[in-house]
Subunit: 186 residues, 2 copies
DNA sequence: TTGATTTTTTATCATTTGTTAAATTTTTTC
DNA sequence: GAAAAAATTTAACAAATGATAAAAAATCAA
């Protein structure tokens, strides 16, 4: 998905504002397994995924995957971006990726100068917020197998592209539990 | 908490922009038990809490509380605000409340006209996003009793002001489980 | 205050999910 | 294509949480 389409998909932008954003973006590619953003570090770039798949995880006793990003989605260390503080998430590439890179610093300047870009940034955060809130609520009143069925319905392609250990972690259960659930469904 | 302080606390605003916002705000009070926003309805106002306490819940088989709002916080039907679509949450007052009311429609105009207000709205969504994401992650790798201890630590006053059934629901467990957890801790 | 109502706790048993280990299947590498 | 490594499933048992009902405590209302 090319950068113009990605930006517009977040929120429609006037041509001039979109060009201002695009002028600050550069293309870059990394191989599967590469760590794009690191936990406990103030990150200074955000990325838009042109091609490929990534996951965000938090390091606890084990790794807890809490987000998958694919074509068209935005990779960001929220704490760095919002509060200039070290983030909690590590972003790992699950496939070879082509990315658009944008320096947070430049984006901040654009936010201050261009009301359209400021509203674009607002829309981005608002949409992410709704997605996160819906997941929180789903976690709160669905059991593991309902959440698995929901994921299958909403993002069937993920099951083809991501190994089940990561899916289990994303659903908040162990891999063994997920296997059990899959066996019961058949 | 007065409106000027509430607005600045979300994100510092230049005096003129703050006045523009304040001019669109009116004061209103409701009694405990009042339903401020309704699920499955496009809501046209947002509220800032001057005094009091509210909860947001989703109606499933039972009511699932997923948010508490107190002095200084913003009451909003996210889906209405962001997508102009009926929201999933109902907001109920848990105490008599004094509120500041703001029409979404007027806020949208301000977003388009004033870059400072647009960035203020961006910051609002970003901060809410971080809070929601942290709760999602906490839900994903903490068990019920850890989440209860975390809530006691971060928001001890909630336990004084909210009945335990709502707290249990917020933590994603039954009231009976919460009682058991409380008994084990003592 | 007292009786009624609501909230919270306790108890018992059922269900779901976790843990560990081993078996099986799939993928990778040479 | 065979051996090695990684991912997934299965099994057995443990721990956490849910469901239901009843008891106890706290709050409310006359």
């Amino acid at each position: 998905m090319d950068i113009s389409k990605i930006l517009d998909h977040i929120h429609q932008l006037p041509e001039l504002s979109k060009l201002a954003l695009q002028n600050n973006v550069s293309e870059i590619a990394f191989a599967k397994g590469h760590i794009l953003l690191k936990a406990n570090k103030i990150e200074s770039n955000i990325y838009f995924i042109k091609k490929g798949l990534v996951r965000a995880y938090v390091e606890k006793d084990n790794e807890v995957t809490f987000w998958f990003g694919k074509e068209g989605e935005t990779v960001i260390s929220m704490k760095s971006y919002v509060e200039d503080q070290p983030g909690y998430e590590t972003i790992e590439l699950l496939e070879d990726c082509e990315l658009y890179e944008l320096k947070t610093e430049n984006l901040r300047k654009l936010f201050n100068d261009d009301v359209h870009i400021a509203n674009w940034g607002r829309k981005f955060a608002e949409k992410e917020l709704i997605k996160t809130e819906e997941r929180l609520i789903s976690k709160q009143f669905k059991n593991a197998s309902e959440r698995y069925l929901e994921l299958m319905k909403d993002h069937p392609e993920l099951l083809q592209r991501v190994q089940l250990g990561h899916i289990a972690s994303y659903l908040g259960i162990t891999q063994v539990s997920l296997s059990r659930i899959r066996a019961e469904i058949k």
